[in-house]
């Protein structure tokens, strides 16, 4: 039964995508909150250098040595970037953009020199081929399990264990590094541990989705989750869920259109982000626009009731509290005056008698409340 499960290519491909999504979301959440999203970009490019160097030394294309080597390459990138920025001669963003392309170029050049005809080519490193993960298997307990699933599963477990074990440390050093230092929580060590895991996960994932698409799995789902919630644990869960949903829908779309599965999964994280960006309940674009309109309507109604209240009972009420006066005195055009009036009538703030306007009791209370505070 288990064997059948692990023999099912569709299931294995989707499972690999899910594992990439979940492990990426666990790390990406903290990287987004720390505003280090572009370090993921840097790391995932420069692990190519680590992968090539380890491959040249050990001839291994996957496994623990590769993961370790790439983790070191990722740390090297971050270290060099911070070193460069600490000279204060280039800014942080320029430092990132100088270090990782140099390492990447070195990696590509080494491949170019030593590895003309092997399967470890730059194309695979950048794009991956998740469609073939089920072909490369290892036997565990008599069951053939795809190598990518094993490594991604392990990395996901390690990431989850890290986040659970160091949750307090991660939380404090993300939101208040000063406090974390004061409490002796070693935020720098936590930061480097986070980035090491990001690089290690990148290596485990590069077989499946490639270095560049891995960035999408790390950055995009947490960014979408950030637009949907204000709390850390829901953000982690939502991000992981987006990773899972993107894997499933991406696979389906890729099969339907006969295009790259990894690319489609990454594109689906983008689609989820787009939905969150547009329709997120509080921070979405639609909600923002809606808030803006309702606020404008409310302000217009308030202007109207205050205007009526000010002139109510005064000798010139007959000239002020009439419909045409709204256009001159409140500087509204006819259509807008009509709209405001209709909304205020509907909300029971105002009564109309011919062209004269009266406040209802509610309208008068509303005006008084505004004027007295």
């Amino acid at each position: 039964m288990m064997a059948a499960l692990f023999n099912n290519p569709t299931l294995m491909i989707i499972l690999t995508g899910m594992l990439v999504g979940v492990s990426g979301a666990l790390l990406g959440t903290f990287l987004i909150l720390r505003r280090n999203a572009m370090l993921v970009d840097a790391i995932s490019h420069s692990i190519v250098f680590g992968i090539v160097v380890v491959w040249l030394i050990t001839w291994a294309t996957s496994g623990p040595v590769q993961i370790l080597g790439a983790a070191l390459a990722g740390l090297l990138t971050v270290f060099l970037t911070e070193l460069l920025a600490s000279t204060r001669r280039v800014r942080m963003d320029a430092a990132i953009g100088l270090v990782f392309p140099a390492l990447f170029a070195a990696g590509v050049l080494l491949l170019n020199i030593y590895a003309r005809d092997v399967h470890l080519d730059t194309h695979t490193v950048l794009l991956g081929e998740i469609g073939f993960v089920w072909l490369d298997t290892i036997v565990i307990g008599g069951i053939e399990v795809p190598r990518s699933v094993v490594w991604m599963g392990l990395v996901t477990l390690v990431n989850a264990a890290f986040v659970i074990a160091f949750f307090k440390e991660l939380k404090v050093s993300t939101f208040d590094p000063g406090l974390a230092t004061a409490l002796g929580l070693a935020p720098t060590a936590i930061f480097y541990a986070l980035l090491s895991l990001t690089s290690a996960t990148a290596v485990a994932a590069f077989d499946a989705v490639g270095a560049v698409l891995y960035i999408a799995f790390v950055i995009v789902p947490p960014a979408a989750a950030y637009l949907l919630t204000d709390r850390l644990i829901p953000m982690l869960l939502i991000a992981a869920a987006i990773g899972i949903v993107s894997s499933i829908s991406g696979y389906a779309a890729a099969i339907a259109l006969d295009v790259s599965i990894g690319g489609m999964m990454a594109l689906m994280t983008g689609a989820c982000f787009g939905l969150a960006f547009l329709f997120g309940p509080r921070y979405g674009l639609a909600a923002q626009v809606w808030r803006q309109y309702t606020r404008r309507y409310a302000d217009e109604s308030r202007a109207l009731v205050v205007h009526l209240y000010e002139h109510e009972g005064s000798p010139n009420a007959g000239r002020e509290n009439i419909v045409p006066a709204l256009q001159q005195h409140l500087d509204w055009d006819a259509a807008r005056a009509e709209q405001v009036l209709r909304r205020s009538l509907r909300r029971g703030l105002v009564l109309r008698e011919g062209s004269t306007l009266h406040l209802t009791r509610r309208g008068r209370e509303a005006a008084r409340e505004l004027l007295e505070y």
Binding site: I32, A37, R89, A105, V108, A216, V220, L285
Partner: protein, 393 residues
């Protein structure tokens, strides 16, 4: 292949001209990107070019560079606008917006690439090269397109020089005097996309990041003025490009793109270390000089204080006493002071160490220094008297 043979080779000529054009345009436009702290926008736009390349290919029905570059420019500008929208209208910060733009557009590019592979079959041959660049595949007609873009961006920068300069260094002032700042910013961003587009053929989307940043970052170390930085960045870009192209032609067809990028990175490293005013080496030397001069001044001041204390302008001080007072060897510093004629050795008894004394010039110099330092904190700060003298210490 000898250098001469390489230079007369048609392909190598193409690659060289392409490298020169790339160096020019990336130095020119990268300067503005780096100064506006938009270094990584080049990275995002480079990745965003991939779907544009594919769309251009699909529209033209083949590998026509004009269409492909137009597509890349269009998706680049769209992505840049989307990044700006995300930063303005959501709680995400620039880094996240850039990362999202980069990874999602690249994913779209990969999807389109496989779609083209699936439908057009073998005819997509030229498209993969835009990923890593394939300088050797540059055609004469490609060079005309690249040259036209380079020329156009050069003309644009020269025409709007004053406006761009103001937008880069003081956008608020630019707005206050009525410049169309938003238009100019969009123009500058679109030009980064242009630079990226020119580099696609030569170094590919991934390595273009470096070509936008490296020449400008290197040039910044040597000069302080925009009108010097732009030509220098262009020159350094050209040097890196030509160097990469030549090495790749010389050495068994190594990939040109990585070589160009490594050359540009090396230029940055050299500039950081060796630039005459901002360089790290210069800074270290200055600091060393300053430390040495400070030590000498302290010794001079100590001798002066002791001379005053003992009412003897030429009071001899034993070397061992100075050493133990400063906690380090002072002999070398004393020798340097002796060369300047500020201190002199004096005879001493056999069982004692060498003695030093101030000369008349040394006394005058020490007096000047002490008064200078005393007037430095002046009468407004009634601190402890005679700070740092041995008798108070």
């Amino acid at each position: 292949m000898s250098l001469l043979a390489a230079l007369t080779n048609y392909t190598v000529q193409n690659v060289l001209i392409g490298a020169v054009l790339l160096g020019c345009v990336s130095g020119l436009l990268g300067t503005f990107a780096v100064l506006r702290q938009q270094s990584l926008l080049g990275d995002t736009l480079a990745h965003a070019a991939l779907p544009g390349v594919c769309i251009g290919f699909l529209i033209a029905g083949g590998r026509h560079l004009g269409w492909i570059l137009a597509g890349a420019l269009a998706t680049g500008v769209l992505t840049a606008m989307f990044v700006v929208l995300m930063v303005k209208r959501s709680r995400l910060k620039t880094d996240a917006a850039l990362g999202i733009g980069l990874s999602v557009t690249f994913a779209a590019g990969v999807v389109l690439l496989t779609y083209i592979q699936g439908t057009a079959g073998a005819s997509q041959g030229g498209l993969d090269s835009f990923l890593f660049g394939q300088a050797a595949a540059t055609r004469r007609s490609d060079l005309w397109v690249m040259g036209a873009i380079t020329l156009a961006s050069l003309v644009l920068v020269l025409a709007c020089w004053k406006q761009f300069k103001l937008v880069v260094f003081d956008p608020l002032f630019a707005r206050s005097i009525g410049l169309p700042v938003v238009v100019l910013e969009v123009l500058l961003t679109a030009m980064i996309a242009l630079a990226v587009v020119v580099g696609l053929q030569m170094v590919g989307v991934v390595l273009m990041t470096s070509m936008v940043i490296a020449p400008a970052a290197a040039a910044r170390q040597w000069v302080n003025r925009l009108e010097h930085m732009v030509p220098l960045a262009m020159l350094l870009g050209v040097v890196a490009g030509v160097f990469g192209a030549l090495i790749s032609a010389w050495g068994n067809n190594l990939a040109t793109g990585p070589l160009v990028v490594l050359a540009a990175s090396a230029l940055v490293l050299v500039s950081l270390l060796a630039a005459p005013r901002r360089g790290i080496i210069r800074e270290r030397i200055d600091r060393w000089h300053a430390r040495r001069a400070l030590g000498q001044r302290q010794i001079l001041a100590t001798l002066y204080k002791l001379a005053i204390k003992h009412r003897d302008r030429h009071y001899p001080v034993e070397l061992g006493m100075l050493d133990s007072f400063f906690g380090l060897a002072t002999r070398r510093a004393l020798q340097r002071l002796e060369q300047q004629g500020l201190v002199a050795r004096v005879g001493h008894m056999r069982e004692e160490g060498p003695h030093w004394t101030l000369t008349d010039t040394g006394y005058a110099e020490a007096e000047r220094l002490t008064h200078f330092m005393a007037s430095d904190d002046g009468p407004t700060r009634p601190g402890p008297r005679g700070r740092g003298t041995p008798e108070h210490g």
